[in-house]
Each structure stands twice: as structure tokens, then as C-alpha cells.
Symmetry: C2
Subunit: 267 residues, 2 copies
């Protein structure tokens, strides 16, 4: 039987889900049935969450509850609902008060709050720039980019760019290496203006072929031999031109973005 | 003087940064200087992080360290570096072992690991669908969408769609309400096929005008009166057509996505 797990938060629940999910991977032999209850911002919402938890108890097994609630009143209600409430937030408030030598404000955290308008604007600007410079769509203002990802078609450039913009507010352009670039083994002239911002992505040929076949099942584009040739030429280009690059084959979108950001020393 | 804070993790550091940042908002009177050290996957990387922490100590104030390290050897190294190490992960492993009645695997967590290929493919499909159905770009296969956001130009549809796709692997289309839709106060025929998937966004006129002015400083498009008229018509349409909607004015992209997902009962 699957063990019920609840993620309870006063905002989106993303942090509770991420940290909770990571903790649960430590128990690979147990199957979990997850429920996310976000926006528990008042006592009424907390009582509704308690109802769901109590309902789960009727299965005879005590559920697991991860909470990132910052408000003490709602957290107290949730704590009373179940023997296994993990308070991912409150656990650290008191020791942090001691470390900082001051009392906390006990206000609801603003984990993903809109914060200041400037930060919001910067993020949306980054997303718009990224959308406008996807797949070599526009080469205008390429030197305004914070980073320019290059690589063969379908190696993961677009999702990585979008994540860089969404998470880190970076203007991330991307440029696909096409036949002409690969045959000549030289960088396209249009990339001259952003030479120091280039970051390469590569991928294993088998995976690339599989991904391309989903898009175009027939034709040379998705054959293994074609993928092998393109990847070999692209990697040769990266090495000759001293462009840093990573293999995306077993790496998540979040990780590609974080690695690229670290390698390019972007803050 | 700003207090130094380090976020240390064996993956991207996003969870450490999110939870740590939320905890720090409890101390609004202190200014923090944040450093993210991701991918601490071995003892050498841990030693490098310790060096950075020791360097900070030279300022005379003990820094704060948030860690989501899952490996005990590296975590032990970090713990020895500073008096204020907050172990966001390990703190919960033992109580969780007790709650689940079994030992943990003590393996590195896969917080953002690529996981299974299916989940990765689903996510990239969702992103591609979302990119292809941005701003009413394509009305083909609109009934394949999981959700269709509608609203006036520049009210936040595109970032919200991208986040829905990135975080929740949802196929999120969006459709801008234009002059013809707003004058007639009727839904465009092309949305008939996805009637039950419509979700409205609205925004305060002042903010919309400010956002539009950045794009087009002059002309009617960005005037306050134009924005007021468009928003009033759009909200009237949402109410008459019984389309659920939210005001995005003070809401972050993450929150808009989480609220829309909850309201539309999408999992």
C-alpha cells in the first residue's frame, strides 16, 4: 500500500515539495501517494487540510506531513493533526534567532513573493528576450545576452534558456548549429559579437536520435549516423574554439541551467 | 555590515536558496550577502566551500550556512567549518526513518535529477506545446491544452504559461483578448473547443499602463484610460462567461501558476 504524504504551505508549496521529495528519495522501497495543499493562509484553510489528513488516517496508516507554514497559529493546527508532521520552516527559526542574535518577525515568509517591482520587471524582460532569441530567431542585440547557448538541433537549448530566464532572470539566447556551420567547422560570423558568452551543449547520439524520431520519425534528420556526425562536428568546434560545453544526456533542465550559470560566472 | 550567508548543496542549490531565503525574510532588519555553492558532490568540493566560509570569518562575524547536502562525509566537512550550519536535509532524515519504520538509503538525493526519461519527455513536450501556443500563435490542437490562459495584452499570460509547463509539465496555451473580442463582449469562436480549460488573468490598470509604456512609450495602447477600458471589458467577459480569473497585480509568476493549477484542479 502506498503511504500518503501531504505537502502543506502558505504559498505555492514548491519548496515543501522539492525538499520533501528529496527526503523521500532516501526511501526507495516505499511508494508514496503525494498531495500538495498550497495557500494555507488562514485557520479555515488549515482546518480543511486537517480534514484531508484525517481522511487519510482512516486507511490505518499514519500519513507523513511536510509543512513550510510560517504562521504559528496555522502550524499549530497542522501539528495537532498527525503524529508525523515535519516542520521544514519552524525547525530552523529559533536556532537562526540565536545565530543572528535577534528575534524573528514571525511574519509569513515571502518565498516567491513578487518582491520589488524591479526584480519582477527584470525577470519578465529576461523571459521576453529569451523568447525573442530562441533558436536563432533573431540575431539582433545578441550582444545584450548574458549567455548564448549553441548546439545541434534538439539537444536541450530551449528549455535550458527558458529556465535560466525564469529562475535567474538571465537573458539567454540560443543558436542552433546547422549544416553549414558543421561542415565548415567554423563559428557563424553572426556570433562574433557574443564570442565570450557562448556556451555549448552536447548529447549522446542515441538519445538525440530518439528525441528527433519523436518529432520526425522518418528521414535522415533522426538517423543515428546523422546524429553521430553532427555531434562529432559540434564537439570538435567547441574544442577548437575553446567554448565551454556540457553533455546534457543525463542532466535535468535545472542542473544544466545551474551548471552553465556557474561555468560562465553569471550572478 | 552585511552578514555573509552560504547556500551549499550537491545539486543546483535551488531548494537551499528558496528555503534559506524564506527563513531570512524573518529577519528584515539584517542585510545579507548571499553566496550559492552548488554541486558540492565530493570532499574536494566540500573543502573548497570550507575555504570560502573561512575567508568570510575573517570579517570577524560568523557567517550563516544553509546546507542541503545529502552525503554524510561532505556534510561533516561543512559542519566543522562554522558554528552556524543549518542542515536543511539531514535534520529530518532520522525522524523520517522513525516515522517510516525503515532505514534510509543514505544516497544522494535526486532533487532535480532527470529521473525517468518519460517525465523529462513530458516536460519538454509541455514546453514545446506552450511555446507553439503562445499569444494565440497557433489555434491548432488547442483542445490538447491542459489550460488556456486568456487576458488583455501584457497581463502576465506568457510567463505564467511557461512556468506551468516548466514546473508542472502542463500544456499551457494562451490567447490575448483583442479589440474585437472586447468590443463584442463575446468569446472568440476559436476558443469553443477549449471552453472548460479557460482561465482568466486580470491586472490593475495603473500597473498595466506602466508595463505597456516600457514597450511603447507613446500611443493609445499604453494610456491609463485605454488600459482601464480593456480591463473592465475583459473582467465583464470573464464574469458573464463564468470563467475563473485572478488579479496578477501583486502575485509572483510562481504563485499565479500554482493558483491557476489549484483552481483548475490540474495535477
Amino acid at each position: 500500500m502506498k503511504r500518503d504524504v501531504f505537502f502543506i504551505s502558505d504559498r505555492t508549496g514548491i519548496t515543501a515539495e522539492n525538499l520533501g521529495a528529496s527526503l523521500l528519495t532516501q526511501f526507495p522501497n516505499i511508494q508514496f501517494n503525494r498531495t500538495n495543499i498550497p495557500f494555507v493562509t488562514n485557520e479555515k484553510a488549515a482546518q480543511a487540510a486537517v480534514l484531508a489528513i484525517r481522511q487519510s488516517k482512516k486507511n490505518g496508516v499514519e500519513p507523513i506531513v511536510f509543512s513550510t507554514l510560517t504562521d504559528m497559529a496555522t502550524q499549530t493546527i497542522i501539528k495537532g493533526s498527525c503524529a508525523h508532521v515535519f516542520d521544514l520552516f519552524g525547525t530552523f527559526v529559533e536556532p537562526l534567532e540565536e545565530a543572528l542574535g535577534t528575534e524573528s518577525s514571525h511574519k509569513a515568509g515571502r518565498m516567491h513573493g513578487i518582491g520589488d517591482t524591479n526584480a519582477y520587471d527584470k525577470r519578465v524582460h529576461a523571459l521576453n528576450f529569451t523568447l525573442g532569441h530562441d533558436d536563432g530567431l533573431s540575431l539582433r542585440n545578441l550582444n545584450d545576452a548574458d549567455i548564448v547557448l549553441i548546439g545541434v538541433s534538439r539537444c536541450g537549448k530551449t528549455p535550458t534558456c527558458l529556465y535560466l530566464a525564469m529562475q535567474y532572470s538571465l537573458k539567454a539566447a540560443n543558436y542552433p548549429l546547422i549544416q553549414d556551420d558543421l561542415v565548415g567547422s567554423t563559428l557563424p560570423k553572426s556570433l562574433d559579437s557574443c564570442r565570450g558568452k557562448l556556451y555549448g551543449l552536447t548529447i549522446e547520439a542515441e538519445q538525440l536520435s530518439r528525441i528527433r524520431k519523436e518529432r520526425r520519425p522518418t528521414g535522415e534528420y533522426s538517423t543515428l549516423s546523422r546524429c553521430q556526425w553532427e555531434i562529432a562536428r559540434a564537439e570538435k568546434l567547441f574544442i577548437e574554439e575553446q567554448i565551454p560545453f556540457i553533455d546534457t544526456t543525463t542532466v535535468s533542465i535545472e542542473e544544466m541551467a545551474a551548471i552553465a550559470r556557474r561555468d560562465m560566472k553569471l550572478r
